[in-house]
């Protein structure tokens, strides 16, 4: 059962109760992420997220770690381009303790100065970890290519030189600007009494009074270009794609279906053609990333340097031909695949908690899994063909290559 309520201070609470679930997941979502950062403070949202766990007025960092352990729970946070999320997952009987702990961290963290420098070092290690993982790092490089090095194009972790500059005042300023009650959403999924949860939340978070400045967000342009990042690697990593759709687009189920057909599963076109039939890439998949106002539909492949041109050519060809080639059977298969995934995703309280929060953030309303499946079913062959025709134009492709490759290896790669 889904319920939406408000705390006395206006923070919306979205709730999905489910019988027979053993654990409950609760998240506090703040609508700020790396895209909201200025380029010289890139990484501050993520840095702040880390600093929340350094101690509160009544708990040291170690107390926080021990308290969550003693509940047998998980307390953590993650930052993306558009949101910072703090969450707790505990057994049902510890809901109250879990919410108390999460609220303490969220409201009463002290951000000790002595921990700021230490945390900078930890995050620099995190950045190096990503840079040493090429199939991860290529996605950062791709975002940089398509959105430029600002807004959506900036890495969530920031850069070593921006991180170096952060001060305690920067952290407090970030909270003042973006952590107002208007920009917060609470979501919770599990087996519990909604009124009980609301009482607990009101007691812990209901007194927060903080305004926030209106969101500053510029709609970025999608840049169509080819970029090479040279690095001595044994493999060449490629990301390429076209502009996609914003989160709340009416056509979102269409693009999910298209993506499934293109590279979403083992029977998808790219997987079958490039990996299974031609053995040109071990790993190849397509992805959709959608934001408030825009999105990208892309493909990743890891190939040997010699096969780079051939694989890029084949991917572009597959994408351009979608509008003519998709069959009714493929459409049905993709729909069933999507619907199967939706139902299997219902098993975990964390994925339900994420799901209802994202719906609230992007659509401002709730869609039950039944409604979503109905919408998936309603998509027609001509709609997906039409959508692929509108999105995919050869001249709109953007390509990023990371590996033992230089400019001349990619010259004219899209022609």
């Amino acid at each position: 059962m889904f319920i939406k309520e408000y705390l006395p201070n206006g923070i919306p609470v979205v709730i999905e109760t489910l019988k027979n679930m053993r654990s409950v997941a609760l998240g506090i979502w703040v609508k700020v992420g790396s895209r909201n950062e200025t380029s010289h403070k890139n990484g501050i949202s993520h840095f702040l997220e880390h600093m929340f766990f350094k101690g509160t007025k009544k708990r040291t960092a170690r107390d926080i770690a021990i308290d969550i352990d003693s509940l047998g729970g998980d307390l953590n946070a993650f930052t993306s381009k558009e949101a910072t999320t703090f969450y707790v997952k505990v057994l049902n009987e510890y809901l109250k303790d879990g919410v108390e702990l999460l609220s303490d961290v969220f409201l009463h963290s002290t951000f000790p100065r002595k921990d700021i420098e230490k945390e900078k070092a930890i995050i620099k290690e995190e950045i190096k970890m990503v840079e040493d993982t090429p199939d991860d790092y290529i996605h950062d490089l791709f975002n940089q290519t398509i959105w430029d090095y600002k807004g959506l194009g900036q890495p969530v972790l920031g850069r070593s030189n921006t991180i170096k500059s952060f001060t305690r005042d920067d952290l407090l300023e970030h909270i003042r600007r973006y952590y107002g009650v208007k920009d917060i959403i609470i979501s919770c999924a599990g087996d519990f009494k909604p009124q009980l949860l609301l009482d607990i939340l009101s007691k812990n978070l209901g007194n927060l009074r903080r305004g926030s400045e209106p969101a500053r967000r510029q709609m970025p342009d999608f840049k169509s270009k080819v970029k090479v990042f040279n690095k001595e690697l044994s493999e060449t990593h490629i990301c390429l794609g076209v502009k996609g759709l914003p989160q709340a687009s009416e056509e979102r189920y269409g693009i999910f279906i298209l993506n499934t057909i293109l590279g979403g599963g083992v029977s998808s076109r790219l997987f079958q053609e490039i990996r299974e039939k031609r053995g040109l890439a071990y790993s190849i998949y397509s992805f959709v990333a959608s934001y408030f106002d825009t999105g990208v539909w892309g493909v990743y492949a890891g190939v040997s340097r010699k096969k780079l041109r051939e694989v890029v050519g084949l991917i572009v060809k597959e994408m351009c031909f979608l509008k003519d080639k998709i069959t009714e059977e493929e459409l049905t298969r993709a729909k069933n695949h999507l619907k199967g995934n939706i139902i299997l995703g219902l098993e975990s309280t964390i994925s339900r908690m994420n799901n209802i929060a994202r719906q609230e953030i992007y659509y401002g309303r709730y869609y039950s899994s039944k409604e979503i499946m109905k919408k998936v079913n309603a998509v027609t062959l001509s709609q997906v063909k039409g959508l692929s025709e509108r999105l995919i134009k050869k001249e709109r492709f953007s390509v990023t290559v990371y590996g033992p490759v230089n400019e001349k290896d990619v010259r004219g790669i899209l022609s």
């Binding site: 679930m21 770690a65 290690e125 040493d132």
Partner: protein
């Protein structure tokens, strides 16, 4: 497709039925165990909260059963099951399974192979039929074998780029030596080339037998419905008469003799040689050094398993509260993550501490790891640490069973490692009975801060290991 003559072979009846309540604090997990006349052990738990069914078939076939020169045989056999049957070609299988929004996967691990099916209740017949087809009628087409070999070799090449992969591979090889646990489940490029179609057919017919397997089924399915499905789709699966599982190769010592000699699981398998330290440096142009330090651990049936679990939690297993995390991450700020693991298998196990830090901090981090190993061997842990570890391990246990997929996998492994169907009930007792003296004892027995295998993948010029 299934001919009439098979029907008379359907002799499945219940030999042994046991009901068991796997209960945790609040809810109970009812599991029914049955051994069919063909020898297949079936574990069934009925759960109607969602219209889905999860199945896990565990087959006792793994690298433990393959010759060294054909390393990768178990894995390749598992991979080929979905690549063509008497009734379907490879692409038919993936298309049909995706057509019903289900997933059907096979994989070989250190001790066994699993085939898993996740399917919506409404499509259970189709799902079961596909599951049965890949299990009972694989044909191992030559062209698919070649293609698969190419893909596996490609993936090995691709993974060479990952420092963690290079480190793990070298570490296992050094710790386990010639034992199958010392190599990748995938084998190597050379051994994969040695595997022939006949090897796979023989491996399949030697091991993929009902009396060598455990089937666990969790979800929206009654016992009657499951019986009908098993009869219809697995009825023709016949046990091998006078089946004696082919002998598992004897466990031989690693190239690095272990300080734990003979103290893990019996047979003194890892016991030859004297205690030495081994350092492996792998040079790669990287921002960070990937460090693994450890040695042999314990097998799953070692009575010290639970004391080791609590000790490891305090040392470096626990989330943010472990000693290694507190010192190396929180106090020194030298790593994003640091963890210690004991992973335990049928014939032995491994202990390792893993961390990534900037190249020039490698020495400092290694010293601190050794200091923490010494500390837990020399002084008793505090009351607070002990009770904290126990409450986490017992309190988080039910969350390991919070989806039907997890329960299906859990039941199959509980049965495989003979932990007893009352394991969920007993687990808190096992953990809560661990004392501070136990922790000191197992730390001294299984951790050695002087003689260890150390692997460092780094820009060696910058790391300048001592």
């Amino acid at each position: 497709m299934r001919s009439e003559k098979f029907k008379k072979h359907i002799l499945i009846c219940l030999l042994l039925t046991a009901f068991c309540l796997l209960s945790s604090n609040i809810d109970a997990l009812e599991v029914k165990k049955t051994v069919l006349t063909n020898g297949l052990t079936v574990l069934h738990s009925e759960k109607h909260s969602l219209p889905i069914v999860m199945m896990t078939l565990l087959v006792k076939a793994s690298p433990l059963n393959e010759p060294q020169e054909k390393a990768g045989l178990a894995n390749l056999t598992a991979e080929l099951l979905t690549e063509g049957t008497k009734n379907r070609k490879s692409s038919d299988i993936s298309e049909e399974i995706e057509f019903i929004g289900a997933s059907l996967n096979t994989s070989a691990g250190k001790d066994y192979t699993v085939i898993t099916l996740s399917v919506l209740k409404k499509d259970i017949h189709k799902g079961f039929e596909l599951f049965s087809d890949i299990l009972l009628h694989p044909v191992f087409p030559q062209n698919e074998i070649e293609r698969k070999k190419g893909l596996i070799k490609g993936s090995l090449r691709q993974r060479e780029e990952k420092p963690s992969f290079l480190a793990e591979r070298a570490f296992k090889r050094e710790v386990f030596g010639e034992h199958p646990y010392g190599r990748l489940v995938e084998g190597s490029t050379e051994t994969i080339d040695n595997i022939k179609r006949e090897d796979m057919i023989k491996f399949y017919s030697d091991y993929f037998l009902p009396n060598n397997s455990i089937l666990s089924v969790v979800g929206a399915l009654t016992t009657e419905e499951l019986d009908i499905l098993i009869k219809r789709y697995l009825g023709e699966w016949k046990k091998a008469d006078n089946y004696h599982p082919p002998l598992i190769p004897p466990v031989k010592g690693g190239r690095v003799p272990s300080p734990l000699a003979g103290e893990g699981k019996g047979e003194g398998g890892f016991s030859d040689g004297k205690k030495i330290k081994k350092v492996i440096r792998i040079d790669k142009d990287l921002m960070q050094a990937t460090i693994l330090l450890g040695n042999l651990g314990i097998s799953r049936d070692n009575p010290d398993y639970y004391a080791v679990a609590v000790m490891n939690y305090i040392l470096g297993g626990g989330g943010f509260s472990s000693r290694l995390m507190q010192s190396i991450r929180d106090e020194m700020g030298l790593a994003y993550d640091v963890h210690s693991f004991f992973s335990s298998h049928k014939q032995g196990g491994i202990f390792q501490i893993g961390v990534q830090t900037k190249n020039d901090s490698a020495n400092t981090v290694i010293d601190e790891i050794r200091r923490q190993m010494n500390r837990i061997r020399e002084e008793k842990v505090s009351d607070e640490e002990l009770s904290d570890a126990k409450s986490y391990l017992t309190g988080s246990f039910p969350r390991r069973l919070d989806t039907n997929r997890k329960i299906a996998d859990f039941l199959a492994t509980v049965e495989f490692y003979s932990l007893g169907l009352d394991y969920v009930e007993k687990y808190p007792g096992y953990i809560n009975s661990v004392t501070k003296d136990d922790i000191l004892r197992v730390a001294r027995k299984y951790l050695d801060p002087e003689n260890y295998v150390l692997v460092v993948v780094a820009n060696q010029e910058k790391a300048t290991l001592k």
